[in-house]
Amino acid sequence: MTSTAPTAATDLAGRRPLETTVDRHPATSTSEATSPTTDRQAEYRSLMRKWWFAAAIGVPTMVLSYPWLIPGLQDIFPRGSQELWWLWVAMGVSSLAVLVYSGNQFFTGAAEALRHRQANMHTLIAIGTGTAWVYSTVALLAPQIFPSAEMTDVYYDVTVVVTALVVIGMAMEVKARGRTSEAIEKLIGLAPKTARVIRDGTEVEIQVDEVAIDDLVVVRPGSKVPVDGIVTDGASAVDESMITGESMPVGKGPGDEVIGATINTTGAFRFRATRVGPDTALATIVRMVGDAQASKVPIQRVVDVVSGYFTPTVLILAIAGFVIWYDVGPAPAFAYAMIVAVTTLIIACPCALGMATPMALTTGVGLAATHGILIRSGDALQAAKRLDTIVLDKTGTITIGKPAVTDIVPADGLDPDVVLALAAAAERDSEHPLAAAIVAEADARGVTRLGVASFEAFPGHGIRARFRNGRILVGNRIFLESAGVKASALSGEAERLADEGKTPVFVALDDRAAGVIAIADPVKADSQAAIAALIKQGLQVVMITGDNRRTADAIARAVGVDRVLAEVLPQEKAHEVRKLQLEGRTVGMVGDGINDAPALAQADVGFAIGTGTDVAIEASDVTLISGSLRGIVAAIRISRATMANVHQNLFGAFIYNALGLPVALGLLYPLFGILLTPILAALAMSFSSVTVISNANRLKRFKLAEVGP
């Protein structure tokens, strides 16, 4: 499918709801269309050229502005001389060149904003540098209109140097902005370009966007998986770290899901494409990360209100400053008033305020994505930071979610494999989940396959199969004893296994008990470490499960959970979350995102875990692509670090403006004689916006080391 602008018909009648049809780079595009990266590079190069031009003129302008202070020059250009006048004329012309070449964006930007009845940084800089130039030029050409000769000094250095400093600040800002969005560009860059598919019986290489659903795709050793799908034949290990954050390659065989953009290791396999184009996991992730990065942290709404009033307020302050200095300031009043007004305009930095939260959010969300954690929005991030309680669903979250054989206890003199072979023979065609675990274990161990003539299931009790001339019984103790089997020798072992949270299954051949097989949903390898890390972060960890109290307590003990909600029906989970919230807790709920959807929605932050690449990820606040609980620890730590960064940036930006503006207005002058120059103001302003971005970029160095296994 080529990318065309979505039409109304396909959007409304199409399978995706309206809310999700926003295509990021669709287009009615034209030949001038560019990517954000090349846009940014072009912008950076253009700003750097402007900087060099302004700096080249700025240095001599600075020196020659005060020739009477410099030995040697004071003889050539004495004050009041014709030579100095001509020198200043030359400076006036060259500084105009700087305004036109290096500073034109301030004037065009200011004019555009003015047309929209808005004011921004461009407005302030344009008025500031423009005022300095006009004042100087009037003083030069018509000195007679000023009451005293002192007032006829020129300030071309202000024009040129302020322009140079602000331009270099903008260039550094563009560069740093590029770094904050590196994460998403890296994700986009993961997408493979071509795919090898079977068409008409032969293998052909095609563009990845030509792959259709149900195409049979060939993946060779070392190549990228082009789209999402299900393996049909072959086997390999696939490095999924770029999507899931899981560092170990994952084994894949027929029936397993593969994700586009992951990298095949040494094996080869073929798979059937299930999701292509904009529906692949990678495309979904890129879309989600992009949306989250552009969303707003709730605190930003306050900032937006402030910044809406900020720039006009600075204009008003500058005018007020001018009037007050003119009326009550020292002589030459007009010159002082002009300098104060210009300094005020230039020191104000609406940029730092505006960038404080978006920069941190972009970096934090991008950082999380590179660890396989998808944070849905700024709201989720802010809420995740405040969590004090984490509710973990047991099945599929703490545990793998699939029952497996954990122990085999044979009766005296029997081989465990024989017990397993007997049970597997009876259970092979049963549909019970415990049966599946036994059969899978038998196949995994490669035990001899025994054939049974027929079987009969007794739901809730067990199964009876005819074997050779006798029978195999598999079931609970009561089932065996009611069939006349003496199982008392094994009942002690069975009790012990039950205490460990496992389900004991008795196996008998004819009238003799053969052994006990314990089945349990095994705890994930790193659940215990992750839960310990959560507790260490000061969170209370609660386990919620439908299991009986005994099993639940056993698992809770094994993984170190301090509070257990057992025997909770699936539909009651949301209610339990609500009850915790009524205790005054801020609750994060961790579940598989499908069965737990209401509880995830009820929680302050819903974490969907291990849903892999399912579309269900759209329902949660935070999605962990890999199934490891370590992701929760990482997600909370990243949220906390990002919010701390937001607060630092906001604090810095507010304090900077709150201190800078009064000083620029000369509030310290009556007491200490301190008055800033416009050039110092420009330096401070450029520095403050660069500081905000650098601080946001600091987040990228955030280490998740101690979350590791």
């Binding site: 602008a5 979505p6 039409t7 109304a8 018909a9 959007d11 409304l12 309206l18 926003v22 990021r24 780079h25 287009a27 009615t28 595009s29 034209t30 001038e32 269309a33 560019t34 990517s35 954000p36 846009d39 940014r40 072009a42 912008e43 964006q105 065009t108 930007g109 555009e112 904003a113 047309r115 929209h116 009845r117 808005q118 004011a119 461009h122 563009v174 992009g290 949306d291 552009a294 969303s295 707003k296 930003q300 709404r301 937006d304 910044s307 809406g308 009033y309 720039t311 006009p312 008003i316 005018i319 007020a320 001018f322 009037v323 003119y326 009326d327 008033a337 940029c351 505006g354 929005s377």
Partner: protein
Amino acid sequence: MTPDQIIVTVGGLAAIGLVAWFFWLKRSVGVQASAVSGGYQEQMVLVKGGYTPDAIRVKAGKPVRLLFRREETAACSEQVVLPDFGKSAALPTGQVVPLEFLPSEPGEYEFTCQMGMLRGRIIVEAA
């Protein structure tokens, strides 16, 4: 107070009044988005130092498609955000990027650049 001080003071106060009125008090009524086939209300928005038009009137309950075209390279405007609808889009220079949403409640909603420097309003009127 000398005459020139009086002139500067009065002039300054007038300038302050002008700034406050110009930026805060006067608001445009907005451009009505045009209806196109498929029930959409569509409006082209030029992104250049600001949004043109910066006030767009639409009817509640009908999907809206804003077509943004950015004609500048200044990094400020590279993203447009509609916080109330959870929508955003990157705006590569020279490309037309559609942003779609469904306004259900009448009211005024903002769209801004990521830093909130450029601002536009969507005025949703009862259908």
